[in-house]
Amino acid sequence: MINSAIIKKEIKENFFVMKGSLWLFIVALLFSVIALCFVSIQDLSMLAQSDIITTFSKLVIVIGCLITIILAATSFSNEKEQNTLESLLLTTVSKHEIAIGKLISIILMWLAVFILSIPYIIALGEGSSVSVSIIRSVFITGTLIVVIVALIATTLSIILLSSKNAIVTSIILFIIVAVPGFLPKAVIKSSAGSLLGYLSPLSSAFNILKSVATQNVNTSIATTGFYIAILVWVLIGTFIMNYGIKKIEIRGE
């Protein structure tokens, strides 16, 4: 199922080109600006440390998702637009191996973003006992969310066969899914708000991060439900991706 040649090709295309390196530099720059805001803007610097870490962690996941959307939504459509998809399909590599290779390379890009964020989380969480648990939660929830986003955006890339359309559709879907994660506290506490929190994987991830950062006594109970909600979405994403892979075919164009 895993073809190392495809993974190597994808890593080369994502990391060892100007685009990939520049993205990582911009991400680091963005993290720096946000971290500087937290210590220099008076109103932000007066926020509780748990709120600072949670907000920064949310940002890490959102940035990871946006990069994933762009990479995943262009993964197959780019091959099609550059007329390389047909030749790739004519090789002995199966459609599943191509898709998994692309997915692994996208997840590796998320891991690079995550690694860049670690020093900032440690610096912003200094003195509190939550840094390690927050890093662990960002890694687990972030990876799961990125997998969901990658599965859906890749499927859109296969079906729509146009990078532009796939990116726009993926971003619109992402915004719809992300909205419950940014709802006001009063709405989140209502029954409809909490239901939306479980329905949106991003909102579930944010709730996990908040529980961990505030060292909620009921952390394990509160987070288990959210983890289950995210895992259900991973399963849905896998089914969608499986459907998408079946749609890949040599058209002879």
Binding site: A28, A35, L47, Q49
Partner: protein, 189 residues
Amino acid sequence: MNKRLLCVFTFIFMFSILIVPNKAFAASTLKDNQLNIDIISNTDIKCYPGLDIVVEAEIKNNSDKTIKDILLYTNMIDTKKNAVVDLGEFNSAKPIYIESLKPNESRIVKLPLNLVFTSSRYYLYVTGFSKDYNNVVSTKAVTIDIMGNSLVNKNKVIGLSVIEPIAILAVIVVSLLKKKSKRRLEAQL
């Protein structure tokens, strides 16, 4: 003498005109002061930011008729900035609605408050308002000290924010130069 007397009486008359409405207003305030609110929970709050606390207040209807639609809410004053703290900004406070309060009935309400900012110069009070009553009543203010819990080292964050992007930029430049020299070597061969 008569002129002086006239002047004194005129002054007294004018003064009484000035005084009477104020007396009437004061009387109406006293008469209208039919709602009484007191903070009964800790009157000296000392907490860490990020935590949720509950402010307990007792509201009493001193009148002989039912007062409807009462809204109770918390207010905070920052004496350091001489400003009113916007508790709605982070949904820090939530008002409590009381449908009706019978004559001489008292009720204890729990007002939730999320401590967001850090300062030792806050004053907190609870205000009650009713459409029926058409007046606002507030409790006495209690001191609130939200202690700073942030141990973030500002210099460390600034240092990291400068070093990390520069380090990544350096890696990109070095790899580009390596690629360029490799290409040049290949072209020479």
